[in-house]
């Protein structure tokens, strides 16, 4: 029996949680994807524009949570959209979560093989990572939020270290020419960059844990602004340090950029391994969210089956899915398909919910 009440997300913790939700695998490939489309350093503009769009979505998510405080997404959606539409959407989300889990597992395994072990089979590396994810998801949901709080300072810390130690390698002429993209590029680029902010939608699923406060939309937006800033910095540093050509032609330009950094004092060499080691924390939270949301969705559709049963049946599926792609290109395309699917299914959800709510209230009054 507990004496104190600590099972809610505090309002001041929301920005940190929202930031952690969005940082994950995406930031590793973001500079490459954006630079590919834009062909110049103007990518930052695209990141900014798509970020601003997502700020709007964030505000809407906050409104949904405020409109139905303490209610799970299942009950909100059941009220507004009806049981069958809800079940359909939830099933889709569970599948997408599973795909995300597979992507996260595979990319972790791939990077671990690349930076740590060239001999250990990737299946083993993925397996233990998946076990830790299962351990986390099997725990409390609120504890997952706390893990975000614990990890974010470390994650942002390593990014800042990378930026600082790369300042010397930064060649500003790599960024030239400025503002050459025409509006078609910008539209296409924005469309590509938007799914990088997908993580924001995760908060909708955990909104029922948040303490009721009118500040929730603002807090979500603060968290997203931090992400926008980090994304823009990562892009500028990648292009500035590696050059446009290398950025486009490397799979993970962000890690490649970390490679260039030199720590004064010579205590660590090959900072990219350290960077990846720390970034595992961010990737881990993404994996946890993917599995947990899948579990949460299926748990709410089939309420007779216990949580642990779902976790233990979903995780192996994710594990086997992660073995399907044959090479890096296939992994990346799987990753971008998962992102697009999530963007198409989940991001409109707060908008649909708010419209349905408006319509329902109007009909109730009229």
């Amino acid at each position: 029996m507990s004496v104190y009440d600590y099972d809610q997300i505090r309002t001041t913790d929301i920005p940190i949680i929202v930031t952690t939700m969005q940082l994950g695998v995406g930031i590793l490939t973001l500079p490459k994807i954006v630079a590919e489309i834009m062909g110049s350093s103007d990518g930052w503009l695209v990141i900014l524009i798509s970020g601003i769009v997502m700020l709007g979505i964030g505000a809407l998510i906050g409104q949904v949570i405020n409109r139905f405080p303490g209610q799970s997404l299942l009950s909100i959606s059941n009220q507004l959209l009806g049981i069958w539409i809800t079940r359909f959407i939830f099933l889709l989300l569970a599948l997408i979560g599973l795909a995300y889990l597979a992507v996260v597992l595979r990319i972790t395994g791939m990077l671990a093989k690349l930076y740590f072990f060239d001999l250990t089979p990737i299946e083993v590396l993925i397996l233990i990572f998946a076990l830790v994810i299962i351990y986390c998801v099997a725990g409390l949901r609120i504890a997952i939020m706390r893990i975000c709080l614990l990890f974010l300072p470390i994650i942002i810390g390593i990014l800042i270290i990378i930026f600082l130690f790369n300042l010397g390698h930064m060649r500003w002429d790599n960024l030239e020419p400025y503002f050459t993209a025409d509006w078609r590029d910008i539209v296409r680029g924005t469309a590509t960059a938007l799914p990088s902010y997908n993580g924001i939608i995760i908060f909708l699923f955990y909104g029922y844990l948040a303490k009721t406060s009118p500040k929730i939309p603002r807090m979500i937006m603060i968290g997203t602004s931090v992400v926008i800033t980090l994304y823009i910095l990562v892009f500028i540093f990648s292009v500035g340090v590696l050059g446009l050509y290398t950025t486009i032609n490397t799979i993970f330009p962000t890690i490649e950029m970390a490679k260039e950094a030199e720590v004064p004092g010579g205590f660590f060499e090959r900072l990219q391994s350290i960077f990846f080691a720390v970034w595992m924390l961010a990737i881990f939270t993404s994996g946890v969210f993917a599995l947990d949301i899948s579990t949460m969705m299926l748990e709410s559709i089939f309420q007779k089956v216990s949580k642990i049963t779902w976790i233990l049946s979903l995780a192996p599926i994710g594990y086997f899915l992660s073995m399907i792609p044959r090479n890096e290109v296939e992994i990346l395309s799987m990753s971008s398909w998962a992102a697009i699917a999530l963007f198409a299914v989940a991001i409109p959800l707060p908008i649909i919910l708010l419209i349905a709510d408006r319509v329902k209230r109007r009909t109730a009054h009229g």
């Binding site: 029996m1 600590y6 913790d13 893990i147």
Partner: protein, 520 residues
């Protein structure tokens, strides 16, 4: 089995070791001294330390009997106050007074004992006698008077050996719960300091006290602690450790979920922050609840030193904790798997020193860490002044010899020494011990999966501390969930004049700790 429990009489049921003895005594009180004494003697199995003394009141008056356990009472008090005053009072009675009247008179006017009470059942009489009280029987009445005359040998109040400070009060708790309570009361003369008393242990019947400040601590906390403690049914409670292990939230966790302390000032500082203190008779260790990870890295001295020094020491302690968990594991990971991460020059010098070493790095590390643990354990068993010295000297000698013999590399000795010294900086012994366990699990992870394993182990550790709740407070608080006002006293220690609010961790009712008196 004696089933008086939680201070209330459940049922008179004294049973001594099986069935055959049960018929020897009766579960009732008699109206003659002789029968009562006989009965008690049978019940206790005629012990040699049971003393009975019969005194006749006046020339024709009734006889009264004093019954007590020899070493549990203060003989001087008994001789001078009780026996003398009974013998000297024979003139005050009328010859025709009834036994009950004499009894009342003895109680109300004659006996110069501060604390006395009536007893009506054999349970009461026997149990109180075993606590050091003296039973007074009187011919002609079934009433019994219990005189509070405890007195036994005790340790003096000394400095707490496990929590030494340079600056601060030097008194430490001792084995007597009454003295311990008085030590707390001396430091906290607050009428709101409330006490809840329990009895735990069906055979040892130890007195357990929950202390809290009403108006600061949440009453639910005290209720819950009382509920948990009163649900314990064990034979004996030799130490607070027994209570700790029975009432902690998760027995699987390596971390201590209640804080133990020998220092009254630490108990007081817990109390004023809305926490509760549990005292147990017979042990100098008190428990403070609830507790989180950050409490274990605080020393009581931090509050007494000036803030820059305290803050520096706290940062140092956090770094030491990190070193003592991660350093050997990092050594294994870097040497075994990731040579590339070590700067080239250092890598060469390490490789040079490791040239003659026949073992892989992890064997070397386990060997040295186990040696260190053995030395530490040996140091505790040896007499105090020699123990520490032997430990350190042994460590140096073994380390030096191992390097000379080419069994381990000098860098390994540095790693082990640094780890050991770091773990000695922990203010809480219980926490330092759990760090030792953690260190070995990190080493195992590093052995199998290098840096990847260390990170996964760290993640698992984070999952554990965020899932672990102590009475509803997450173990990772106040870091996660973030309570920014509590960060003033987490890694840093802000100037006292800026910490005007009590820590929000325990949700205190009275939130203000200090404020400036308004100048007139």
């Amino acid at each position: 089995m004696i089933t008086i429990y939680r201070g209330r009489t459940v049922k008179v049921a004294i049973r001594v070791n099986g069935q055959q003895n049960q018929e020897n005594f009766k579960r009732s009180l008699y109206s003659t001294v002789h029968e009562n004494i006989d009965n008690i003697r049978k019940l206790l199995g005629s012990p040699t330390d049971l003393v009975t003394r019969k005194i006749t009141i006046g020339p024709n008056g009734p006889a009264c009997g004093l019954v007590f356990m020899e070493e549990l009472v203060d003989m001087k008090l008994l001789n001078e106050s009780v026996i003398q005053s009974i013998q000297g009072c024979s003139q005050t009675f009328h010859p025709h007074q009834s036994a009950n009247e004499i009894f009342m008179q003895l109680r109300d006017t004659i006996l110069p004992i501060a604390h006395l009470q009536n007893a009506f059942t054999l349970d009461d009489v026997v149990l109180k006698m075993l606590e050091g009280q003296t039973a007074l029987f009187l011919d002609g009445t079934k009433q019994v008077l219990l005189l509070d005359t405890p007195g036994w040998k005790e340790r003096n109040i000394e400095e707490a050996p496990s929590e030494k400070v340079v600056r601060g009060p030097r008194d430490g708790f001792i084995e007597n719960i009454a003295v311990n309570l008085s030590l707390v009361r001396r430091k906290l003369m607050d009428p709101n300091l409330h006490v809840r008393s329990l009895t735990v242990g069906k055979r040892s019947r130890k007195k357990v006290i929950i202390l809290y400040i009403s108006g600061i601590a949440r009453i639910e906390l005290v209720d819950e602690l009382e509920r948990r403690i009163s649900s314990i049914i064990v034979d004996t409670v030799p130490e607070t450790g027994t209570i700790e292990q029975w009432i902690e939230d998760s027995f699987l966790s390596p971390f201590p979920q209640l804080q133990n302390t020998e220092r009254p000032d630490r108990a007081v500082s817990g109390l004023v922050n809305g926490r509760a203190v549990i005292l147990v008779d017979g042990t100098p260790f008190a428990l403070i609840a609830p507790v989180t990870l950050s409490h274990h890295l605080k020393s009581q001295e931090d509050d007494y030193d000036r803030w820059p020094i305290s803050s520096f020491l706290r940062i140092l302690r956090h770094i030491a904790a990190i070193i003592s968990i991660f350093l050997p594991a990092l050594y294994i990971a870097l040497i075994e798997y990731h040579h590339g991460l070590i700067p080239t020059k250092l890598a060469f010098s390490i490789a040079g020193t490791r040239e003659g070493v026949p073992f892989p790095a992890f064997v070397e590390a386990y060997m040295m860490e186990f040696t260190m643990e053995i030395l530490r354990e040996a140091g505790i068993r040896l007499p105090t002044p020699i123990g520490q010295t032997i430990g350190i000297v042994g460590g140096l000698v073994i380390g030096e010899a191992a390097v000379q013999a080419g069994v381990v590399s000098p860098i390994m000795v540095i790693v082990v020494a640094l780890t050991a010294i770091s773990s000695f900086t922990m203010p809480s012994y219980a926490f330092a011990s759990s760090l030792r366990l953690l260190r070995f699990s990190f080493m195992a992870a590093a052995t199998v999966f290098g840096l990847y394993g260390i990170m996964l182990c760290f993640i698992a550790f984070s999952i554990h501390i965020t899932n672990l709740h102590v009475l509803g407070i997450p173990y990772s608080a106040p870091l996660a969930p973030g309570t920014i006002t509590d960060w003033k006293s987490m890694i840093l220690r802000f100037p006292l004049t800026l910490m005007r609010r009590r820590t929000r961790l325990t949700e205190p009712q009275d939130k203000t700790r200090s404020r400036r008196r308004p100048t007139p």
